[in-house]
């Protein structure tokens, strides 16, 4: 519970009004193991609907954005085939006002409407999401480490699929444990300070082992295998798609 509160506080403290709305603002950096351990749902799906509104949350009207995803594959936790993910804040729309400010619906974005660093998706986006447990009365969630836990999946003409977050997967194997959900001593697979950050064993294929040396986007299948092995190493709930939400 304490973790959830701190995560909620973390997200709320990123409510800032800065003109460069897509910049990567300071949030705790997560490596892949801590990201996997922190998430209670990890899945691959594509966005089918986006709806912006205001909701009564924590005794106040809050801007929220509802994203509906068609889930293809669950890696951790139980998710429904169609899952609605509700995040605080509204996405910016890249339009610029007269002063060069970001706008939304023709109005300059302010701290009242946008959460800086919150990931945003568009209909058709295919993503791999690491979601924290719902908070604020179980209504809202967000990806672990905000923009870090949202990986956009692209498919090459060759059929190969790749995943990357908006910081080009920086720190997935090198960021130190930040203590959000685990201590460095709890590490089982990712050891940022070691010469080879990925521990041997855990049934990792050679391809998955090689991910730690790669830069930029990562091959989706190998990446998912690695996430699955990390989840298993921590005794996490195996991913499954269920008929109704938990």
């Amino acid at each position: 519970m304490r973790t959830l509160v701190s995560l909620a506080v973390l997200s709320m403290t990123t409510l800032v009004a800065i003109p460069n709305v897509d910049a990567h603002h300071a949030v705790l950096r997560f490596n892949l193991e801590e990201m996997t351990a922190t998430a209670n749902r990890i899945f691959v799906g594509h966005c089918t609907a986006v709806e912006e509104s205001h909701e009564m949350i924590a005794q106040g009207m809050m801007p929220v954005t509802r994203y509906v995803f068609e889930v293809e594959r669950a890696i951790k936790g139980q998710v429904t085939r169609q899952i609605t993910v509700e995040q605080l804040g509204h996405p910016s729309h890249r339009a610029l006002g007269k002063g060069g400010e970001a706008t939304m619906h023709g109005e300059v974005v302010t701290s009242k409407t946008i959460i800086h660093g919150m990931s945003a998706y568009q209909v058709g986006d295919r993503v791999l999401l690491f979601l924290i447990p719902n908070y604020l009365g179980g209504k809202v969630t967000y990806p672990v480490g905000l923009y870090q836990g949202a990986f956009f999946v692209t498919k090459m003409p060759s059929g190969d699929e790749f995943a990357r977050n908006t910081i080009n997967n920086m720190g997935l194997f090198t960021a130190p444990y930040n203590g959000t959900s685990m201590a460095p001593t709890d590490a089982k697979v990712v050891f940022p300070e070691r010469e080879s950050p990925l521990a041997e064993g855990h049934g990792l294929s050679v391809k998955s082992q090689s991910l730690a040396t790669k830069r930029g986007r990562l091959p989706l299948e190998d990446f998912l295998e690695l996430i699955d092995r990390i989840n298993v190493a921590h005794g996490g709930e195996k991913g499954s798609i269920v008929a109704s939400g938990k």
């Binding site: 460069n20 990567h24 603002h25 300071a26 610029l96 080009n168």
Partner: protein, 362 residues
């Protein structure tokens, strides 16, 4: 030291073989005098030649790409001061004294910074705050430079980095990985999924060039305003002969990701990448793989005159003094990954990397 000794011994042995096989020839050499046999029976002579030839071959094999504990007599690589604790992504040197570095932002909330040295890597000071993860920095003179960010932002300074003007706003999903300006007006930027940007007015406007590529692009360099190269994922090399209007793929002989690129003054292109990959292309074409038996990732490479230095994972530092034909691995000063290197001249350089580490050639 052992490297120089190897060459010295090899040269002496060669001299001996030449003398032994042609005893009457006068040797003109700057090597120290060697005591040579005046006459030998033919069988013994043949055996001696064979043994010494074998020794020469072995010594050369061990010398090339072998790890050595020292460096050239002068200068030496030394560990520099830590520049903060964050990962440093790019370094750019104007001269032996002046340079800049950029990198990650502080998860603690302090954001990031652009750092400058004016004393040749001895000290670094934060000159500007930044709220974006900056991937590259490049100056064309003491005042004018640019930075690129992971979110697609490009900024320009005209006061040596004290203040910056945004020239290109953030674009989601457009990480910018590499940048090069040949003068104050003409520059190129490369990024994720085949992104190539070009400016001819100092960055006031940026035009996206359609390369038809989808690979991540990691580095771009030009040898003139017309001739340039880009390297990227899956061993991709693109070349242009019209200033970046059009790009054509070249055969690279590798499928490894190429992460760093440099062009020597005599127009030899050298690319480095995953699994110790080193490619060399005379005139920027006919690329060949330089076999170096390394497995670490090489992230960046820089050249000055005939000296070429590459850096990479776990502090890997390789040096070539013959424009990339042969390389020598040096003992890593630091065990942290080095992400970027620049040389101001053959005897001055800086490499930067994970956790704010710096390594200075001086």
């Amino acid at each position: 030291m052992s490297f120089h000794l190897s060459f010295f011994v090899a040269h002496i042995l060669i001299a001996q073989i030449v003398v032994a096989s042609q005893p009457r020839r006068v040797i003109v050499s700057t090597l120290p005098a060697v005591s040579l046999p005046k006459s030998r029976p033919p069988v013994v002579l043949a055996r001696l030649i064979k043994l010494r030839l074998l020794a020469v071959v072995l010594i050369f094999l061990l010398g090339a790409c072998a790890e050595r504990s020292g460096t050239r007599n002068t200068p030496q690589w030394v560990a520099g001061p830590n520049v903060g604790k964050l990962d440093l992504m790019s370094v750019d040197l104007l001269d032996a004294k002046t340079g800049w570095v950029v990198g990650d932002i502080d998860p603690g909330g302090a954001g990031g910074a652009i750092y400058q040295t004016t004393d040749g890597c001895k000290t670094w000071r934060s000159i500007t705050h930044t709220d974006e993860i900056l991937t590259t920095i490049h100056f064309v003179n003491r005042t004018t430079g640019w930075v690129t960010g992971l979110a697609g932002r490009i900024e320009r300074t005209d006061d040596g980095g004290l203040s910056w003007k945004v020239q290109r706003n953030e674009r989601e999903g457009e990480p910018l990985n590499g940048m090069f300006f040949i003068d104050e007006r003409r520059g190129w930027v490369v990024g994720g999924s085949g992104l190539v940007l070009r400016t001819t007015n100092g960055g006031e406007t940026w035009t996206q060039t359609n390369t038809g590529r989808i690979e991540d692009l990691w580095a771009v360099r030009f040898s003139s305003s017309e001739h340039g190269w880009i390297v990227g994922e899956n061993g991709l090399i693109l070349a242009t002969t019209d200033g970046g209007n059009t790009w054509a793929p070249q055969t690279s002989q590798t499928s490894r990701a190429l992460l760093g690129l440099t062009i020597t003054p005599s127009n030899v292109a050298i690319a480095v990448g995953e699994a110790g990959t080193i490619l060399r292309g005379e005139g920027g074409s006919n690329w060949s793989v330089v076999d170096c038996a390394l497995t670490v990732t090489l992230s960046s490479v820089a050249a000055s005159d005939k000296v070429v230095i590459a850096v990479g994972s776990r502090g890997a530092t390789l040096e070539s003094t013959d424009e990339g034909r042969s390389w020598t691995a040096m003992s890593a000063l630091l065990k942290r990954d080095l992400n970027s290197i620049d040389l101001s001249d053959p005897t001055h350089g800086v490499a930067v990397g994970r956790g704010g580490v710096t390594q200075c050639l001086q």
